[in-house]
Symmetry: C2
Subunit: 307 residues, 2 copies
């Protein structure tokens, strides 16, 4: 099944304690689309300026990522971000942010996109996420991401969005901010009360937690997944979006929304993210194939098996 | 099989954002012993002052914790600690520390203890850990804990200890300090180079990582275990020692030191710790039995099962 994503497409400049890159491909929709493309075709919705190289668009197409929804604004610049990671490689500082074309982004979906069954609303203003959603015709599964600024300054629209979607993906500090709970188990359960069927709390190198209002009598209502232990963390930028891309891509490929499929999808998300952090931008993901993910899945499965 | 532990026995005064307790039972050997006592008899080595209530000692005995190695020093006071947890319930500040009798602790093991097959050297000065170890006759499995002050100020003795023991248990910041590595996978592997057969890095609410030099061809050399997701974290004091107690207690009960048993032992450690944090001191652990741990094990197993 096809998977639609709306989000940022950006030029990233990234500094880590040991290396740096200038103006490499980034943005939530970029990482998400590439990660999902191991599993399923993607309908990409985003905006770039005239500085966006045509070869980047060609690269998307070569991965079965449809760019009919990629708007190119003449005379303007692509969204750009500059950030610096602290030595722990988990915390980062934003040094510069230029919204550029993204500042007035108000997507009109191509007609062919409107029936896409799986939808991911990457981190963005909730009003825009709602507007995109209003253009969709009976999607099967809608999941959104969000961030601190929308939680604090656009809370009402965000809560309206949560009434209309199936799942929310957010990181641990955002989950605490949204719910006011310091304990993540409490926070995850509170997110469900806002109206979503499930919630994924991302914890970076510590993995992810999954909360679901679906009954599974033998199980906890909370499922905790460690991250794949990689020794080679070069650049964590896009890890959360790659995670979401792997997860949603796998679900779309199965045309599934049940609990067991979501659990396995979380593992694929984890594995794609583990590759993503091993180099800057899309560089490491570009070196691997679905078979590499399945190899890592076997290692992960072995790790998770209790004797 | 019997399990020996040497460590602190203390009066703890604990402040959390929502509650506090004064002078409750604490100390590494206390938490460890109680946690291990669900699984196996324990030989306790420690020291207290004359302010230590006899009923606490009776409580140990009622749990099959041998107190022949518990020295009571007349005219002196028991070790005491006062600490305060930050709202995240993970970070804490030490407000007061009185070594008292522990300052001159130099344990002479009772003859009956010297052949105990399983040994845990709880966090303490490496010179004392070495001295205890030198009194043991051919132990089967020796595991130690350590902390920042020994890593920085007693490094040589600590490295000597690592040559003589089987496993090291330490927390994430200590592992980084010991090895100089920021990435925990790298840090865990480096610990093995110091001479231990395995290493457990504890990550508090994020679970634990296990590194082993034993070959397991299908598996990673790193095994990551999430914590049991408890919504009810009242006081994390002693979580690490309860974890170690559950782990070592389970291994001693099986008389096992193989990799598969250690993996399962890590899960029992995780589960005992998950109960320990649900109240102050030993209060929550005192309410449960082995069967409660096995019930939580089933939930944990269900959580870990990939479809």
């Amino acid at each position: 099944m096809k998977l639609l994503v709306v989000g940022t497409i950006a030029f990233d400049s990234v500094e880590t304690p040991t290396a740096s890159r200038e103006n490499v491909m980034g943005g939530s929709a970029t990482f998400f689309s590439y990660a999902a493309s191991y599993f399923t075709p993607v309908n990409l919705v985003g905006v770039v300026g005239e500085d966006w190289p045509q070869e980047n668009t060609e690269m998307f197409r070569s991965r079965n990522i449809d760019t009919a929804g990629l708007e190119v604004v003449a005379g303007e610049k692509t969204f750009s971000w500059r950030g610096k990671y602290l030595p722990n490689m988990n915390d980062r500082e934003t040094l510069e942010l230029n919204l550029n074309v993204f500042g007035s982004f108000n997507p009109e979906l191509p007609e062919s996109y409107k029936t896409t069954p799986f939808v991911f609303l990457a981190n963005g203003m909730p009003e825009i996420q709602l507007r995109v959603l209003s253009q969709m015709r009976e999607p099967k599964l809608v999941v959104a991401d969000t961030m601190d600024i929308w939680i604090t300054d656009h809370r009402e629209s965000l809560l309206e969005l949560l009434q209309q979607i199936d799942g929310l993906v957010l990181n641990d500090s955002e989950a605490k901010l949204l719910t006011g709970a310091e304990n993540l188990v409490v926070a995850g359960r509170k997110v469900l009360e806002y109206g979503v069927r499930f919630c994924v709390i991302k914890k970076g190198e510590h993995g992810a937690m999954f909360f679901s209002s679906d009954d599974c009598p033998e199980c906890l209502d909370c499922y905790v997944l460690p991250a794949y232990p990689t020794a080679d963390v070069v650049d964590p930028t896009g890890a959360g979006d790659s995670f979401a891309g792997g997860m949603m891509g796998y679900l779309a490929s199965l045309d599934a929304t049940d609990l067991d499929s979501i659990k396995k999808a979380l593992v694929y998300g984890t594995l794609v993210a583990s590759y993503n952090v091993e180099d800057f931008s899309l560089d490491r993901m570009m070196q691997i194939e679905r078979s590499d993910l399945d190899k890592r899945l076997e290692e992960f499965r072995c790790m998770m098996t209790l004797v």
